[in-house]
């Protein structure tokens, strides 16, 4: 296998760390040395030659090859079996609807949230239960970190360089979650977004930090979901009124109440879409009266339509703790779902 990347020699593991830190090639944490053998193992796993073009970032027209993704994935701690997720996530991120440049350069400081569905979750040990949005398992931690290291090294998304984030958030270290499909009677997120249940899939979303909610004092779907909607209204008031893809994380304890009452994800999305909206005049209540002007009665929904809500079943088995995950800038960036192994540029088979 002919790799194109420049090779460096380092005397020992400490020298490797200093080489990568000194060149600005890390996120500040130690990396796994990207040796030829480790990188080739990733490429072998997906059956890609090193020079395979994964995509071209549409705004700055930067190309991304399989070799460079693999180097950064190894650095992040990924095993070869994790690499198909990294490849698919990056393919999805470079679709024009995602607006990768804007999402990663903005002062808004969002991260790329990666949501996993389908059989690959179990194959790689990606867990959607305990600590689902934290360091729940090796697979999601390293895949999320690989996304960030690729941004740093392939797109120059470094703080103060392309990354102009005022604050950022901890998801910019790693932000990957697997849906708990085994413990849910709902359709998976990727099914909701048009893929077959059997397909392994990745959804990427330009996402703010999770905003946690808790409601353990009711079993009524309307009351449970009102708490989620209220947090979305708070985001509309305190952050941005732009509508777009929001995600909600619904833990087992809460979704059991919803499912027992016969509520599907479609029902959940319809209810939340109806309830998560504010009048522009409410901005005056939170110190933003200057931009209300004569449009105080204008209603701003969190989503333009119910299907913009990504409903994700995840979380430990006990606790009425859910989360909303707001978008970076509403409709400017749209979540993209892609099956692992899909070819975005292939011609359809000729009849």
């Amino acid at each position: 296998m002919q790799l194109a990347s420049r090779i460096y020699e380092a005397a020992d593991i400490s020298a490797v760390q200093e080489l990568y830190h000194a060149n600005g090639w890390t996120d500040g944490l130690p990396i796994v040395p990207p040796t030829r053998e480790a990188v080739e193992a990733c490429l072998d796993w997906v059956g890609m030659p090193p020079a395979q073009l994964i995509g071209i970032e549409p705004v700055r027209e930067l190309s991304v090859t399989a070799e460079k993704l693999a180097i950064n994935a190894v650095m992040a701690g990924c095993l070869p079996m994790h690499f198909p997720v990294v490849v698919t996530a990056w393919t999805a991120m470079m679709q024009s609807d995602f607006l990768l440049h804007g999402a990663t350069a903005s002062t808004g400081g969002c991260a790329v949230l990666v949501i996993l569905n389908g059989p690959i979750r179990r194959e790689i040990g990606a867990s959607g239960t305990f600590n689902a949005l934290g360091s729940s398992d090796r697979a999601t931690s390293t895949i999320g970190r690989a996304i960030r290291l690729c941004l740093i090294n392939l797109m120059d998304v470094r703080p103060g360089s392309i990354d102009r984030s005022t604050l950022g958030h901890p998801g910019k270290i790693s932000y990957c979650v697997a849906e708990d499909e085994e413990d849910s009677s709902w359709a998976s997120l990727s099914q909701q977004r048009g893929l077959e249940k059997e397909a392994s899939a990745v959804t990427v979303m330009a996402a703010g930090a999770p905003r946690q909610i808790m409601n353990e004092w009711t079993t009524k779907p309307e009351e449970i979901l009102e708490t989620f909607a209220a947090e979305m209204r708070a985001n509309l008031r305190h952050y941005s009124i732009y509508p777009g893809n929001y995600a909600i994380i619904v833990p087992k304890q809460l979704r059991e109440h919803l499912q027992a009452a016969g509520w599907s994800k479609t029902d959940v999305a319809a209810f939340v879409h109806e309830r998560a909206r504010i009048k522009r005049s409410e901005w005056a209540d939170v110190g933003k009266g200057a931009v209300v002007r004569d449009r105080g009665d204008t209603v701003h929904p969190a989503m333009e339509s119910p299907d913009q809500l990504l409903v994700v079943a995840a979380g430990g088995p006990a606790g009425g703790f859910g989360a909303i995950i707001p978008p970076w800038l509403g409709h400017k960036s749209r979540a993209v779902t892609m099956a692992i192994g899909a070819c975005v540029d292939c011609e359809p088979p000729k009849a």
């Binding site: 460096y8 380092a10 440049h101």
Partner: protein
């Protein structure tokens, strides 16, 4: 134990375009402002227009705003730029 490790960056800088020929003077010229649509550009470009007219003799100033401040200028704006002598692009906040 020594390690042979690989460069995680593209390694080369992509070629970028050449600057357009410089104008000898702005006097009597048409200058375009392409705003990214953020509030801060309004005051900045307004002040700049005054300076360009008063101090440089610019004849006309054209204001255009991108539909998405995180994406390149819309194609129709890029086409219109060809009819201007100079262009200012507003970046950031």
């Amino acid at each position: 134990m020594s390690f042979l490790v690989l460069d995680p960056t593209p390694g080369t800088t992509a070629a970028i375009g050449r600057p357009a020929p410089r104008l000898d003077t702005l006097k009597g010229k048409t200058v375009g402002f392409v705003s990214n649509g953020k509030e801060g550009t309004k005051g900045f470009f307004g002040h700049l227009e005054g300076m360009l007219r008063a101090e440089c003799g610019v004849a006309d100033v054209v204001y255009r705003t991108k539909s998405n401040y995180s994406a390149p200028a819309d194609a129709w704006i890029a086409d219109e730029i060809k009819s201007w002598h100079a262009v200012f692009s507003g970046l950031g906040d």
